[in-house]
Amino acid sequence: MEPTPKYLTRNFGNPAALTYDGYVAGGGYAALKKALGMAPQAVIDLVKAGNLRGRGGAGFPAGVKWGFLAKGDGPKYLCVNADEGEPGTVKDGPLMEQDPHQMLEGIAIACYALGIHQSYIYIRGEFHKAIRIVEAAVEEAYAKGVFGPSMSGSGFALDVAVHPGAGAYICGEETGLLSSLEGKKGMPKLKPPFPAVKGLYDRPTIVNNVETLACVPHILNLGAEAWNALGTEKNGGTKLYNVCGHVLRPGYHELRHDVTLRQLIYDVCGGMKPGRTLKAVVPGGSSSPILLPSEIDVRMDFDSLAKAGSMLGSAAVIVMDDRTSIVRALDNLLHFYSHESCGQCTPCREGTHWLYEISQRIVDGRGRPGDLDRMLDICTNMVGNTICVLADAAALPTQSYIQKFRGEFEDYIRAGERRGLLGGIEGKAVAHA
């Protein structure tokens, strides 16, 4: 494997970079200066040419999304999605805690390109440390004249504020995030209209993930061609991957976008723990369909994983070894989705609930013939029938776990057979407060 040059993580482990001066000493805010010397549209075109795919999960090209922002007078907003909550995902927290100015520089460039004068950084409420660090960095950026009435002396006004969440996975969904930012329950809204037309306070709004914005300065510094060369076709740049579960060395790594799932597990993370073999792997956070050991020679970019029947999502790899009970793994996730459904769409509220109920009785050894088909039926009714895609995020993995491990589920139902461990979690999922 070719070593990856470090961009997103170049300041990781260097506490000096938390300060404005330390960040500038490492070349920081040079990209902003460069952007301010360009026409706004030229900045958007550059990001488009860099094939920057949204790092929040959907992989939508950032430059194209920016192009959708409604024109015209009046306030427009950039909302930064720092609600990191997709199970398995660890990247936006480290990006904020270890190099907050990198994200702020990305925000400044994006706002300049888009003619936006107010940005809110919506940070997951449990991230006390990241909130503290980003708030301090924002304050310093004001003191140094990066933010405020004249961004770095350009005459362009920009205000940036941190907004904490309070514990709700659904606020990671962009319209749920906007509802939450308005001081309401984090209920998603029907699209269209998309936020780019009608978002925060009903004004045109761009929502971008932390990592997406952290990439922006590097595209300006490197140019689109060099940035593209770090990735694959239509997937520019490097990417932060997190690997968790049963590998020898779990952790997050910045790697070229063309790394394969096999390389990630075996070369980067040291392979499986001693004496164990790979049983299954989730490649892109809990909402992505599961893959078999025979399916891991796939590149970790958005298009390659889609072709392989799964998705890159948040690039969170969850590795399961031969001792894992797939039945219980699914049961754990169904608890998650039924708990996190905001409840406003019947197929999602009822669907996630029924899936978890049936799963619980299978786990308890009370499964009935027909239960698996019943679950697949529920999934069919959930997909594509709801306001946001949380319903799909629950249904698609369920379908894939059942389809790929049907024998294991059937054994469990037939014999009430409790085979396999889930790292010691009891059959009955732990109750929730």
């Binding site: 398995g88 449990e126 309070a166 514990g167 001081g183 793994a329 754990n332 790292g423 109750a431």
Partner: protein
């Protein structure tokens, strides 16, 4: 007496100033956080009413927010509130054993507070520290790579320290 002390009032005003005029409701979550922190770890009806009055937002809207988000508590919590992660990546790494050990050490279940008011316990969904699983969070601190013994040792350490 209003739970909003002069210090809190100054903090509140700074928070509200972040949002456009007419969009004061946006400050509900940050204000509730500030009151919950200073008010001993949970939100009373007076707290919620104070936020509603301060922002000029109906009480029902504030209450809706309080109940929608898991970080807000209407019941008192312990001085140390322990949130054990229960989601798949942590489960694969043995969070069931950790959860059991914590429950046994404290003698309480989810949503309960120890008799001395020192600890409360809760099981939560993914805390975005999955590479360190199993994890729990106490206050601002996340403890990773936990085992049953390590979890108990953390609690013993906090119990010895006493106060906050």
């Amino acid at each position: 007496m209003s739970p909003i002390t002069p210090e809190l009032k100054a903090r509140f005003e700074k928070i509200v100033a972040r949002y456009p005029k007419g969009q004061e409701q946006s400050a509900v979550i940050p204000l509730l956080h500030a009151l919950q922190e200073s008010g001993g770890g949970h939100l009373t009806t007076e707290h919620q009413q104070a936020v509603a009055d301060f922002l000029g937002v109906p009480m029902s809207k504030v209450h809706e927010v309080t109940t929608f988000y898991t970080m807000f508590s209407l019941k008192p919590r312990g001085r140390h509130h322990i949130s054990v992660c229960r989601t798949l990546p942590c489960a694969l790494c043995g969070c069931g054993d950790v959860a059991k050990a914590v429950r046994e050490r404290l003698g309480v279940g989810p949503g309960e507070v120890t008799a001395d008011g020192m600890f409360s316990y809760e099981e939560v969904e993914c805390l975005a520290q999955c590479h360190l699983g199993p994890v729990f969070q106490i206050g601002d601190t996340v403890y990773g790579d936990l085992t049953a013994d390590k979890a108990k040792a953390v609690i013993d350490g906090l119990a010895k320290q006493g106060g906050r």
